[in-house]
Every structure is written in structure tokens, then in C-alpha cells.
């Protein structure tokens, strides 16, 4: 069952006279429960693809169907709603709010969908438990290790029960051992919670964890293979 589908998606940047095609007619389908790694050299268009998939950016051509809905024509606020309810983001640099406790960071997405404070607290606790950070709710990001910070970020991505998690080099700032732990967490969320995971990486070891590997080069999808351990 397809959860997202791109139909001949293009993204063209104009820099004065120059025309730069970051994405050129890319089409693929990702099914519910997929675990996809996107690889490619820098400038291959993988980050642009992630931004479009994450509804942070709009394509200049083609269609992007998310959960059956064409999101390529939505306005800013409608995109924000989609991000809030259907997508969870995990970034390389964690992107947690500083001077804000772990649990408040996890609560952040719920601040924008009208949940009551009590409900937010309960759901955030659940999410933190799921990522193995129970007992650290009131730690500030700077009191947590890199791996723990990334767990908080994953908790934040999970908390609204988003069916899709987009991770942009989630292990880029972590050592090998912590990277493995984080990847195991993704695998667990994928298999146990049936969450669709799309991650960008340039490390083949990390891509090993996924079920499917897409390679981008010069704005084209050049290969799309089943891979990894499963």
C-alpha cells in the first residue's frame, strides 16, 4: 500500500541566468512500512528530495502524493499541518531547543495541534519511554550525550503518531557504537510500530539497516534496490 508517491518530480533553481536542475523527473513509490535509505554524493539532489518529501519545500514540477493527497499545490499553513500530523523529522544536528528540557522538546509538535497540557505530558512520556529515555525527562539537551539527544529528537518525531519519519543523516554526528544503537531503534520502530522510515546517509554501513536503497546522482534516481539485512 503506497504511503507516498512522486510522479515526475522536478526542482529547478534559477540563479540569475543559470538554471540548476536539482531534481529532474523523479518518480517512485514508497509503501507503508518501508525502510528506505537514500544515498548520493553531495549535490546529487538527495537533500532536495528530502525537503520535498518532508513538505518543507515544494517541487517546481510534477506531483507528490502523500497518503493519497497531492501536497504539491498546498500553501504554507496546509503544509505545516501535514508536517505536524504525518511527518516526523530527525536531523543530523539533532535540532533540539536549547534551555528546554527533553520532555518539553518532545512536546513541541503537540503545541501546534491543540492538545491539552496534560495530554501532551502523557504522550511525551510515552514517546520518551519508547526511545529508552525514561527518567531523563527533565534533562536539558546540554546534559545529554549525542546519542541521547538524537533519541529525544526521535521521540519528538514519534509523538504525534506520524506514520512517516524522515531522517537526514541521523548518525552523522555520532560515533559508531551510538550510531548502531540509533539505527537499531529505527529498525525497532519500523518493525514493531510499522512506521515508514526514509533516511539520507552517505555511509553504506548505515544504509545496511534499511530494506531498500535509492541512489541519486545529478538530480536523477539512478538505482532503487532492495538491500540490507532483511
Amino acid at each position: 500500500m503506497p504511503i507516498l508517491e512522486t510522479i515526475e518530480i522536478s526542482k529547478t533553481y534559477y540563479m540569475g541566468e543559470m538554471e540548476l536542475k536539482a531534481l529532474d523527473s523523479v518518480s517512485f513509490i514508497i509503501n507503508k512500512g518501508d525502510f528506505v535509505s537514500i544515498m548520493g554524493a553531495s549535490g546529487s539532489g538527495k537533500s532536495t528530495m528530502m525537503n520535498i518529501l518532508g513538505c518543507l519545500d515544494l517541487p517546481t514540477g510534477g506531483k507528490y502524493l502523500l497518503d493519497g493527497e497531492d501536497v504539491s499545490k498546498l500553501n504554507r499553513d496546509q503544509l505545516a499541518e501535514i508536517r505536524n500530523s504525518k511527518l516526523g523529522f530527525v536531523f543530523q544536528g539533532f535540532n533540539l531547543l536549547s534551555r528546554t528540557t527533553a520532555i518539553e522538546n518532545v512536546e513541541l509538535p503537540m503545541l501546534y495541534n491543540g492538545l491539552h497540557a496534560k495530554e501532551r505530558r502523557v504522550k511525551a512520556m510515552e514517546a520518551l519511554k519508547m526511545v529508552g529515555l525514561a527518567g531523563r525527562e527533565h534533562h536539558m539537551p546540554n546534559q545529554l550525550s549525542g546519542g541521547q539527544q538524537q533519541r529525544v529528537a526521535i521521540g519528538r518525531a514519534l509523538v504525534n503518531n506520524a506514520p512517516i519519519i524522515l531522517a537526514d543523516e541521523p548518525t552523522g554526528n555520532l560515533d559508531t557504537k551510538t550510531s548502531d544503537e540509533i539505527m537499531s531503534l529505527f529498525v525497532k520502530l519500523n518493525t514493531e510500530e510499522n512506521i515508514t522510515i526514509i533516511l539520507v546517509t552517505h555511509e553504506p554501513d548505515i544504509a545496511q539497516y534499511s530494506k531498500r536503497l535509492m541512489r541519486f546522482s545529478d538530480g536523477h534516481l539512478i538505482s532503487d534496490t532492495l538491500s540490507g539485512q532483511q
Binding site: 518543507l56 519545500d57 505545516a80 508536517r83 500530523s85 509538535p109 503545541l111 501546534y112 495541534n113 497540557a117
Partner: protein
């Protein structure tokens, strides 16, 4: 819909991060609001002071002064030549329908002696109607009567300042004082009136019957001469009618032909004082306007700091946008921060303004009045400043593109 309590909490935390900066930004608003309140308090105090003085003068007052006279081409100044007489005063009361009371005045300075004390003051020869004209009550004792005026009795009533200087703690009623060495019996003491609008001590005076003043104390250059006639019109609406009636009557009585100048002047004192009061209103507005400029500068300070804050927190805005904050959510958050800055600044400013007004009144002995209206308007004004100057930074924040914001270092 954004969760306001949480957003307010977030705003407070953000403001606490740069506490020093927050306080300095607030200082602009504190000084602005404080200045507006203190200035308005000074202005309102001045207005009340003049209002009180007008009331102390007596209401609906007209004053008839002798006019300039011309003798051999030489024009002397106003009031230099006495032209009014006691019969003028009586005629006005009888014939000018719009006049309620008329009191003649023949005054001069005189040395007063009681026991071994002496004091120089203004001795006013007048009639008992004077107390009605000036809305002046007696503190103790009684006034002299029309009978005393007819008989030119040597009695007097004293202002409080004279009592203080001559008698100290002694009860002055029934005592005998000497005015220009003529003995007078003290009948009563006037209640305290304070300063006149011209700054004179109105209580430093002695009232005696006008006839006594004419015949025994000052002397006259013609029969029945007085210097001034004080009139009280029947009401505010009668002031101009009274003025006209007195003018016509006196021209007739003084045999002034058509086309010749008056030898007297009728002045509407109440009107003059009200003009003075108008001037204080203008002064109040002016002071308030000047103080408002500092509030404006404070507002610009808020805008400046909010713009810095938006830039500093670009990444935070990016994170919020990524997890689903709408543009309006971001805008609301920064608006709330600006409002918190301006409202807290406003409240502290109100406290400082009220305290400042209090300080001015104790140090400068200048009555200041803080009206609830000025507090409410200062509060609303500071809220308005927050909304106005917070809007642009908040709007700028809400326009940020999430991708660029997330990448911002």
C-alpha cells in the same frame, strides 16, 4: 489554535535567557510610561491649583476699575485716577439686574499694632457684601454690618495671616487693635483662603467698613471715593449681561458722551482665570506629548531587540516550523514576547511614575495629581506600543522559510 499559557511560558523563558537585555529594553518603556504619568500628574496638579484659586476668588466675578483719564493731553495709566464712588457701587446693585452683589473697595497699606506686636498689611474698606462676592466665610466671630458702614464704626475682621502675626495663640475676638494708630475692635476672623492666582497671600488682609476707611483711615480726594467695585453676577450666564449693564449705567452716571472713552473698565475676572486654566491644559498636553516621545523611543528599543532576537533564534523558528508551527503561531509567539516586554515595562513605569509624581510634590512642593485615567491610558498606550513595534519583527519571523531557518548557523 495556539496554546496561550504555554506560549506565554515560552516567552517568559526566552526573555529570561537574556535577562539584562530584557531589563534594558524594558527600561525604555519604564522611563516612557513613568515620564508620561509624572508629567500628566504635574499638569493636572497645576490645573487643580488654578481651579482652586479661581474658586477661592469667588465665582462669577466682575471687577470695575477706574479708567485712564486724560488731562491736558497727558494720559495716565489705568486706575491711576480714582473715578468711582460709593454711590456708583450702590447704583449698580440697585439698577443692574444681572448683578447679585456689589462691594466697594477702598484699600491701602497700613501698620497694625496689637500690644507690643506690629504688622504691615492691606486694609480693605468695603461692605459686608464683600464676603458674598468672594464666597468667603468667617472662621470665628461675626462680620460688620451695613449699620456699621452707615455709621463708619471702627470695627474690623481679620485674615488668618494677620491673626497669626499679631495674636499668636490669643483669641483676637473683642480685642482692640490699632490701624494707623486708630483703635478698632476685632469682630471676626476670616477662614483661610490661601494664595490668589497672582500668588498673593489672600489671608494677609483686614476688612473694615468702607466709610470708616474713607473718613478715618485713608481719606478721599472727593466725596465717596473708592478704588474698585467688586461684583458678583447672578450666574455664569449673566456675566456678559452684567458687564453690559454696568458699562451703560456707569457711562450714564459719569456723564460720558457718545464717542468718548470710558473712565472705568469692567473686567470679567472669572473669564481671565478660566483662560489661565486653559493654558494649563495646553501645558499638560505639551508635557504629555514630550514624555510620549520617550515612550516612542522605548517602543523602537523593543522593535530593535525583537529584531535581534528573531535573528538569533532563526534556528529555533526553523525547528518550530518543521514540527508544524504555522506562520501565525510564530507571529503570535513573538507578539506575545513584545507585549510582555511592553506591559511589564508599563506596569513598572506606572509605579515609577506615581512614585515620581509623589517625589515631585514633596521635593518641589508642587501638587501633583495622578488620575486613574492617566494610569489606564498609560497602560493601554504601552500595550499599543508593544503591538505596534512588536508586529514587524514578529511578521519577519513568520515569513522565514523553514529550510533556510534550519540551516541558519
Amino acid at each position: 489554535m495556539i496554546d496561550f499559557p504555554s506560549t506565554i511560558k515560552i516567552s517568559f523563558r526566552a526573555l529570561k535567557v537574556n535577562l539584562m537585555r530584557t531589563l534594558l529594553t524594558m527600561l525604555g518603556i519604564i522611563i516612557g510610561v513613568g515620564a508620561v504619568i509624572a508629567m500628566l500628574a504635574i499638569g493636572t496638579g497645576a490645573k487643580k491649583k488654578i481651579g482652586d484659586q479661581i474658586a477661592s476668588m469667588g465665582s462669577n466675578l466682575l471687577i470695575v476699575l477706574p479708567g485712564s483719564t486724560t488731562s491736558g493731553g497727558l494720559r495716565s495709566g489705568m486706575g491711576s485716577q480714582p473715578t468711582l464712588s460709593l454711590s456708583d457701587s450702590n447704583a449698580i446693585l440697585k439698577e443692574a439686574g444681572a448683578v447679585e452683589y456689589a462691594a466697594p473697595v477702598l484699600n491701602g497699606n497700613a501698620q497694625i499694632i496689637y500690644g507690643n506686636q506690629n504688622w504691615s498689611t492691606v486694609v480693605v474698606g468695603t461692605s459686608p457684601s464683600m464676603l458674598n462676592v468672594r464666597d468667603w466665610d468667617l472662621a470665628v466671630g461675626r462680620s460688620f454690618t451695613d449699620e456699621d458702614v452707615r455709621n463708619a464704626t471702627k470695627v474690623c475682621i481679620l485674615g488668618q495671616t494677620v491673626v497669626d502675626n499679631l495674636f499668636g495663640d490669643i483669641d483676637p475676638i473683642g480685642q482692640s487693635i490699632r490701624i494707623k494708630n486708630i483703635p478698632f475692635i476685632v469682630l471676626g476672623v476670616l477662614s483661610v483662603k490661601g494664595q490668589s492666582p497672582q500668588g498673593q497671600d489672600q489671608d494677609d488682609t483686614i476688612y473694615i467698613p468702607v466709610t470708616t476707611a474713607q473718613k478715618k483711615v485713608f481719606g478721599v480726594s472727593f466725596r465717596g471715593m473708592i478704588r474698585v467695585i467688586m461684583l458678583k453676577a447672578k450666574g455664569t450666564d449673566y456675566l456678559s449681561i452684567a458687564e453690559k449693564q454696568v458699562n451703560e449705567l456707569l457711562r450714564q452716571r459719569h456723564h460720558i458722551q457718545q464717542g468718548r472713552d470710558d473712565d472705568f473698565t469692567v473686567r470679567n475676572l472669572t473669564q481671565i482665570m478660566e483662560t489661565a486654566q486653559q493654558a494649563t491644559v495646553v501645558m499638560t498636553l505639551l508635557l504629555g506629548a514630550i514624555a510620549s516621545v520617550s515612550l516612542l523611543v522605548g517602543g523602537i528599543g523593543i522593535m530593535n531587540i525583537m529584531l535581534v532576537s528573531v535573528t538569533e533564534r532563526t534556528r529555533e523558528i526553523g525547528i518550530r516550523l518543521a514540527v508544524g508551527a504555522k506562520a501565525s503561531d510564530i507571529r503570535t509567539q513573538f507578539m506575545i514576547e513584545a507585549l510582555i516586554l511592553s506591559l511589564i515595562g508599563g506596569v513598572i513605569g506606572i509605579i515609577f511614575g506615581v512614585g515620581g509624581a509623589e517625589l515631585i510634590s514633596t521635593l518641589a512642593k508642587w501638587e501633583t495629581i495622578v488620575t486613574p485615567m492617566s494610569i489606564i491610558s498609560a497602560f493601554c498606550f504601552s500595550a499599543l506600543v508593544g503591538i505596534f513595534f512588536g508586529f514587524y519583527p514578529a511578521y519577519k519571523a513568520s515569513l522565514l522559510n523553514p529550510i533556510d531557518a534550519l540551516r541558519y548557523e
